[in-house]
């Protein structure tokens, strides 16, 4: 086996929304760039099929429409899950340029009359979200990446980073159809691999019917962790509200256009229970919904029957921007949301940032640098970026930081000989004729995570869960794959298991509850700002996990 070797200044792992913005930034700085993605960058990642929102401030006059108001809100809703100085540098500094860039590339952020359509949801201080048709956002960005001369390796899964003397010097990967092995030597490497899905049991009876992209399986976070980089906010298990039989994006559209949460007793429970009502932060909507169901007032619904005229037509349209097939689903199910309330449920869990403003994953500084030289992160895989805004700003910021570093750094000489063994360990499932499929193993991981680490955590439950995850790990050597597609999935399963272990230890360490129900400890059910306002930091320690705390302060 011989690697196809490529030298570059900057390697971007993950060609989703953050990765493509990172690639553009690095290329504009004059760096050579390679982008590797498990799919094809024109259509891969969480917004590959479209998106309808970008949270922004536009300085249009009102106090809520400013950078200061956004940061204040990030602190209020984020409850200390980010350093405001890092949000300021990697998100706020980049927003205006990001909006200009998207418009220059043909993403229609404005309505045909030149104005922005702006909506309010999820605890925002005003109608800050730009509502737009983002169905062709990925093709537009991909076109620019290719125009700038970035080398794109579509359908290549990255399996491990190359570390030489404590410095990240590139990565190894394989083509998911042909199996061609790649060795990328890079002066700087960016993790832009999104969040971790497929980690809990899926109430929709299909492991791949996830709210966010099921191709995002924490590969980058695990590679960074194994290379010695710190991760933070990994304890949070995020959940949303979805239509009963189909886990899909769209909650923001429902609530922004006036949807009201209704219980089986005919009560509008968010309006009754929470000051911001239906426009409460997402975690509050999920928390209150779980409470309604647990206390016997379910099933629950989103009621849009009062939405009429432009708003009703727009709701139908924008749901299809955010999730292309959601209108088909509703039609095939016989639902008319203008005629009767839509039955909804809580989604599966995923590991990602605790709020729409604050992230989880690779711990970054103001230049998106990780704690290991040569390694950077942006977007949902970085601990200070979330959602579309976080990807278009934070991704770009990571590209700039990585290019600045790469252009003043000498390449490290790499000896491929020891790398062959490392690479070979990721190929092992191909050699097994009998064993466990990735599906079987993920079912067991999902069972353990759902039973011991989901909403309502306890010390004993978490510890039992951790032992069970170690038990699953002892079977990882049995994973089999009949082809390179299955090999990709088997390696994703390894990533998911590792993220589950990290999530478990971080959740056990944080002896309080924060952003309930995303980290809800039944044995420490209150939020304790005195001791726990900040980030739980997770690092590799031999074969174990080292935990520490990084306090955050307002200001």
């Amino acid at each position: 086996m011989e690697f196809s070797r490529i030298n570059t200044d900057v390697l971007v792992i993950g060609g989703g929304l953050a990765g493509l913005n990172a690639a553009i930034a690095a290329a504009e700085k004059g760096a050579q760039v390679v982008v590797m993605d498990k799919g094809k960058i024109e259509r891969s990642g969480s917004i590959g099929g479209g998106v309808d929102h970008l949270g922004a401030w536009l300085n249009s006059g009102p106090a809520w429409d400013t950078r200061e108001a956004w940061l204040e809100n990030a602190w209020r809703i984020g409850k200390g899950t980010a350093h405001l100085s890092i949000l300021d540098a990697t998100v706020c500094d980049e927003l205006a340029a990001a909006l200009d860039r998207l418009e220059r590339l043909g993403v229609p952020l404005r309505q045909p009359d030149g104005t922005y359509l702006r909506t309010q949801a999820f605890g925002q201080p005003g109608p800050t979200t730009i509502n737009f048709n983002g169905k062709r956002m990925k093709p537009a960005l991909a076109k620019e990446v290719r125009r700038l001369g970035c080398r794109v390796l579509d359908r290549v899964m990255t399996v491990t980073l190359i570390t030489q003397k404590g410095v990240v010097a590139g990565a190894l990967g394989f083509h998911i159809r042909s199996g061609e092995p790649f060795l990328i030597e890079a002066k700087a490497t960016i993790i832009a691999t999104g969040s971790t899905n497929r980690i809990t049991q899926n109430p929709r009876m299909n492991a791949f019917n996830t709210w966010q992209c099921p191709l995002d399986t924490g590969d980058g976070q695990v590679m960074a962790f194994n290379a010695g980089a710190a991760l933070t906010n990994m304890e949070y298990m995020r959940i949303t509200i979805v239509p009963k039989g189909f886990s899909a994006a769209g909650l923001g559209a429902f609530t922004a256009m006036g949807g009201r949460f209704l219980n089986a007793k005919g009560e509008y429970y968010m309006e009754k229970n929470y000051p911001a009502g239906n426009k409460a932060p997402r975690n509050q909507i999920v928390f209150q919904t779980l409470k309604e169901i647990q206390e016997g007032r379910g099933p629950v619904f989103i009621d849009c029957t009062h939405v009429t005229g432009f708003d009703a037509r727009h709701l139908a349209t924008t749901l299809g921007y955010d999730k292309d097939t959601l209108p088909d689903y509703l039609a095939q199910r016989g639902e008319d949301i203008t005629k009767r309330p839509l039955a909804v449920d809580v989604s599966e869990g995923l590991q990602c940032g605790p709020t729409n403003e604050t992230g989880s994953g690779v711990k970054i500084d103001r230049h998106c640098a990780s704690t290991v030289p040569g390694l950077f992160a942006g977007g949902d895989a970085a601990d200070h970026h979330r959602c579309v805004r976080g990807c278009v700003t934070g991704g770009f910021s990571a590209g700039k930081g990585a290019a600045d570093y790469a252009l003043k750094t000498n390449a490290i000489e790499i000896d491929p000989t020891p790398l062959r063994d490392a690479f070979d360990s990721f190929m092992a499932p191909l050699r097994r004729k009998t064993g466990l499929s990735y599906g079987e193993m993920e079912e067991v991981i999902g069972k353990v995570v759902s039973e011991h680490m989901a909403v309502g955590r306890t010390e004993m439950g978490l510890n039992i869960g951790f032992e069970k995850l170690k038990g699953i790990e002892s079977h990882i050597g049995l994973l089999k794959a009949e082809n390179f597609h299955e090999l990709m999935r088997a390696n994703e399963t390894r990533s998911i298991l590792q993220v589950a272990k990290i999530m478990n230890r971080a959740a056990e360490y944080r002896k309080e509850s924060r952003i309930k129900p995303y980290h809800y400890r039944l044995d420490y059910s209150e939020t304790d700002d005195q001791n726990w306002c900040g980030l739980v930091v997770v690092e590799k320690d031999g074969e174990g996990i080292r935990l520490s705390f990084d306090r955050t302060v307002h200001g």
Partner: protein, 70 residues
């Protein structure tokens, strides 16, 4: 499972195979013709990209029966 490909309309261009992020759609030779098929239908994320980008509008979305009931 979600994408339903109308082989009468399909021109065998292979774009759906190329752009499917979940690597669900493959091409195969059958009756001396290259045509797309769903190799891993259960791994479809219902992103709708294949339908959006199919140049001959040969793809429609049909949800699994159980998802319309539960």
């Amino acid at each position: 499972m979600p994408p339903v490909i109308d082989l009468e309309k399909c021109t065998s261009c292979g774009l759906c195979d190329e752009i499917c992020m979940m690597d669900v759609i493959y091409m195969k030779e059958e009756d001396s013709r290259t045509m797309p098929y769903l190799k891993y239908p259960e791994e479809c994320w219902h992103c709708g990209v294949c339908r959006q980008d199919c140049p001959s509008e040969a793809i429609s979305i049909r949800f699994p029966w159980y998802s319309l009931i539960i």
